[in-house]
């Protein structure tokens, strides 16, 4: 598989994962969070990047992972 084909495969898989996160997320919980956490959770739903989102939240990766569980945002790998 060429690099272009691999990138296209990952682009497609990322789009599928984004849709799953959007659908499964507890938006009521997310919208009830303080601004920083709300922004971080929304960022995670869109990008799936736990490190970037945990930095926005001002949390460690493990602490943010727990917040994702409470927000019912699945990790799709």
């Amino acid at each position: 598989m060429s690099l272009e084909e691999k990138l296209e495969k990952w682009r497609r898989l990322e789009e599928e994962a984004r849709e799953i996160r959007r659908k499964q997320a507890d938006w009521k919980f997310i919208d009830s969070q303080p601004p920083r956490l709300r922004a971080a959770l929304r960022l995670y739903v869109e990008m799936g990047d736990i490190r970037l989102a945990s930095k926005v939240a001002g949390m460690g990766v493990e602490e943010f992972r727990e917040l994702l569980r409470r927000a019912r945002v699945p990790v799709v790998v």
Binding site: A17, M47, I50, V61, E62, V77
Partner: protein, 174 residues
């Protein structure tokens, strides 16, 4: 001793796997699972730390102190991953990928950025990366786990807040 008997675990893998009720199948799959210092520093919760410490005590896990060559390679991987239109990797995942490349150990991750980097970067060719999905499948193949695989996958999803790709056990491995 083959390099395949060893694995190196990243933070995302450890903090999810530790939530699973059958987390102790992991030591049965490898002679040792290395935990880099960079990764251990990120584990904060009492329950995960206790589990990691128990396995360090029994020798199922082993601490991996990063050498300069590993860190240098990992930093190059971080930079290269950010040059492509994929999710980049950060240093803890890159350290695990570098160890996978330089030592031949299987990399355990639940970070899609690490999967993408291993797939797309030529300098990581040959690195074997396993997700929990692959580990559970291996545990069934080796007879460490029995019963209905679908039920076990569902159980893992329930316990950890993970979601595996649809399509059954074989369909999941794409």
């Amino acid at each position: 001793m083959s390099a395949e008997e060893f694995a190196v675990a990243d933070t995302c893998f450890l903090i999810d796997w530790a939530y699973w009720r059958r987390r102790n199948v992991l030591p049965g799959l490898f002679r040792a699972v290395f935990v880099p210092e960079e990764v251990l520093r990120e584990v904060k919760s009492e329950s995960t730390l206790e589990w990691v410490a128990e396995n360090l005590a029994t020798g199922s896990f082993a601490l991996f102190t990063e050498t300069q060559d590993v860190v240098g390679f990992a930093r190059a991987v971080v930079e290269r991953s950010r040059m492509l239109p994929i999710r980049g990797v950060d240093l803890p995942e890159a350290v695990c990928l570098a160890i996978g490349k330089m030592r031949g150990y299987i990399v355990l991750t639940e970070n899609r950025g690490a999967l993408m980097a291993a797939d797309a970067l030529a300098e990581l060719s040959g690195v074997r990366v396993w997700r929990s999905l692959d580990l559970i499948s291996q545990a069934f193949r080796r007879g460490i786990l029995g019963g209905d695989p679908e039920a076990v996958f569902m159980e893992y999803e329930e316990d950890t807040g993970h979601m595996f790709p649809p399509g059954g056990v074989e369909g999941r491995n794409r």
